[in-house]
Amino acid sequence: MAFLKGKAKRILRFDVGDGRFELTESERGAPRMLGGRRDKSRVKNRGDERRPIPKSTKKLRELLCAEFSTDRNPDLILRPFKVGGGRDALAVYMNGMADDGSINDFILRPLMRYAGGDMSLGALSEDAIEIAETKREDDLSKAMSAVLDGMTALFVDGEKRCLLLETRGYEKRAIGPAENEQVVIGPNESFTESLRTNITLIRRILRIKELIAEPLPSGGGNDTDLALIYRNGVTDERLVAEVKRRLDKADAFALTSSGMLEQLIEDSGVSPLPQMLSTERPDRAAAHVMRGRVCILLEGSPKALILPVTLFTLLDSPEDFYMRRPLGTVIRVVRYVGAAVSVLLPGYFLALALYHQGVLSTEVLSTVIASRRMVFEPIGVEMILLLLIFQMIREAGQRVPGSIGQAIGIIGGLIMGQAAVAANLASSVVLIIVAASGLGNFCIPDYQTQIAASYFRMALVISAWMGGLLGIVAALLLSLCLLSGMKSFGVPFLAPFAPKTERNKPLVIRGRLGGSPTDDELNTSFDARIRGTED
């Protein structure tokens, strides 16, 4: 009854804040239309339940055998032995996750041959064990989480605590070149699936003491780790706290990719545009961290999530800054024009061809008419079909291995296009428009933004088909209205243009290298220095 009452209250009333985070505005967000709660408390897998470590290693062994079903699950290795031939001890590690050689050579052998009198954990750690990183733990849950992560837990009979020893040594992919964010000038390394390696890749670029790589539980049912990377003193503390809050609330059955994590912590789940930048380049991630953004690395995912972002961040390429200013600026302008052409051109052409022929010159109009003379379907259908086929070719090209993918692109793009025109299934003018739009789409550096641009393009084509320029105006205003209301971790998505911020660097023209982090529009917004927002 109370549940129903609460539900009804939430549906009927609008004054319940949903705790949406905003850095630049103090107005609280609106609750959902049907009163659903956004924040759900999740059941944590790790660290929720604190358990003492049994003093008897025999008892502990039985407990772990039962918990891990070692009769069916031989991966958990429970290695009983005697320290210096006297005191009982138990080494626990996961087969394959920990390095057997290190365990044999630097833990078991020194401990078995230990001749010292003091057999306490502290003494063993200092005098016998030859592992660089050791940590004492009195919580069995945390100790077993560490074991699942590849560490070795050493239990000694009669001790309430154990030693966690760094023995992680599982197989991992080597660092390879970036495949999706290639640059001509600049580094070519990309992230791997190993969290430790990825942190190292960033640390190698940012050798500063302010760089924090804070390990956190990811919130997935599979209990993977993640690292929150930020620059202490430059990154806004409120932003870091908000990211942690959202991560704490994140709840997924299994978290295997940063894309899943992104969905769990983003501001708006229905927006086609990403609210975080997903990058495989350590140099790009490092540059953003340097400027005060937060980077999230997830174990098992070769992508870093950068936040907060704006639309203009998504349209930037690391190469803009690797080239001299004039070249970087020209490339950036070309990219922006490409993005605009990609979104606007098909709809605009359709509107002119269908409703406002007077805007086209006689020559262009006669070319359009001549090319469409034998095409049987309406121009709107033709445009939508060709856009869909273009998307299909692109999708097919991405899903198959490299050389075959290229072949699909050539067959789809050239041969099919030629054949479609010859068979009067498509007109050459519309084909050129779709191809130009597709080319412009590839100018957008971010993959998710490319897909979002194609959604907007399709919406504009349908609107133009329905209402010509008026339809385009309606669709554009609607899109801009949605974008202007969007936020990425409290930062307005169209900043620094709308809202206007005290950004020193120009927006489209590439600014000078150097300068302080406060040059960045995000930092100005953190300081509440967006004009007029000082309270």
């Binding site: 505005e25 406002h356 320029l469 008026l470 105006v473 205003l477 609607l478 202007s484 809202p499 004009r531």
Partner: protein, 363 residues
């Protein structure tokens, strides 16, 4: 809370108010009253834009004294809910009229010059849902959209004016200031309807502008910017067309392109320019509808503006569709009365706000 106020900066506030004043004052001019006896719009409209700043500043002082962040709260505090509703009603009506009037003019232009033969309702179906959604999304979105659109709006106006420059003739300004001071004053006073109302909306949205002091700066800048824009546009029109030629002309700013750009590619931008101006009109109308909804919510102490915004959007849509059929005598009469005496409506509300703001009353 679902007041959707957000917080916007100076640039967005100025863009929202100046775009609303400019769109109303440039595209909503009634040719019958403005051009019948000579053309003085290039002075009277900018003058009205500057004059409208005075009451806004005065009322802002009253709001400051009462310690209230917005006009609605100030009225509610001063007169109680019933009294505030009574005094807020004239401003609400004038805000809705300012939302409807430019849309009526633009739909007329669309129907007669761009979408020949398409029904008014079909055109409205594209415009009003967008306006309603923007109003629904609130002040933050309106301000940011206005900032985006205002750049295009200014560019298109400058381009249209510059392209007509070869056709400028100073003799067309005759008779200067229209025919007599009385008619000039009368027209300026009637134009206050389209300048004072959008400026008063800033008083309603004071909290969204981060308080009274930033709101005052925003209002001053918006008033100057809109006066400059209105002067440029109306002065160019006056130099291109004589007052007799303007009397029967639908949207003269659209027509001036034809004079000098015939046979050139630039001529083909005319329809695009109308679309840019229409975008400005949609955002301006949304701004007025939002302000009306915010005023309503403030007076009745409601925590949600969306029902009012949706209802007011429907009212504006209905009014525009009714105005499309000007053969209805009632509609024609109401439109005429509003155009002539509409400026009295915001004046009533602002006077009421000013009357109770003299004393140091903290509610």
């Amino acid at each position: 809370m679902r007041l959707n106020e957000g917080r916007i900066g100076y640039a967005e506030g100025i863009a929202a108010a100046a775009a609303a004043v400019s769109v109303c004052a440039i595209f909503s001019v009634d040719p019958a009253s403005a051009y019948t006896n000579g053309n003085s719009t290039y002075i009277s409209i900018p003058l009205a834009a500057l004059i409208s700043l005075v009451p806004v500043l005065a009322v802002s002082r009253a709001l400051e004294r009462s310690g209230k962040g917005g006009l609605a709260e100030h009225l509610e505090c001063a007169y109680g809910t019933a009294g505030a509703a009574l005094f807020a009603l004239p401003l609400t009506v004038s805000l809705l009229f300012c939302a409807a009037r430019p849309m009526t003019c633009f739909l007329d232009v669309l129907q007669s010059l761009i979408y020949d033969g398409v029904s008014y309702a079909s055109l409205a179906a594209f415009v009003f849902p967008v306006m309603a959604l923007i109003a629904w999304k609130g002040f933050e979105s309106i301000g940011r959209l206005a900032l985006i659109v205002s750049g295009l709006l200014v560019f298109s106006l400058v381009f249209a004016v510059a392209s007509a420059a070869p056709s400028f003739e100073t003799y067309r300004l005759y008779p200067l200031m229209g025919v007599g001071a009385a008619r000039f004053t009368q027209f300026t006073a009637s134009e206050l309807m389209f300048t004072l109302t959008p400026m008063s909306a800033l008083l309603v949205c004071g909290k969204g502008l981060n308080g009274i002091a930033p709101m005052r700066k925003t209002a001053a800048a918006a008033s100057i910017v809109s006066a400059a824009v209105c002067f440029s546009a109306q002065f160019a029109i006056s130099l291109v067309y004589s007052y007799k030629g303007l009397t029967g002309l639908l949207m003269p700013l659209y027509r001036i392109n034809f004079l000098s750009l015939a046979q050139s590619y630039a001529l083909r931008l005319d329809k695009l320019f109308v679309m840019v101006w229409l975008s400005g009109a949609i955002v301006s109308s949304a701004y007025c509808v939002y302000a009306a909804a915010r005023l309503h919510a403030g007076v009745f102490r409601e925590r949600d503006i969306t029902p009012a915004a949706a209802s007011f959007s429907l009212v504006v849509c209905a009014a525009v569709l009714a105005a499309a059929r000007m053969d209805y005598t009632a509609v024609k009469t109401a439109n005429g009365i509003m155009l002539r005496f509409g400026a009295a409506l915001p004046t009533v509300t602002l006077t009421a706000a000013l009357a109770k703001g003299r004393k140091e009353k903290k509610c």
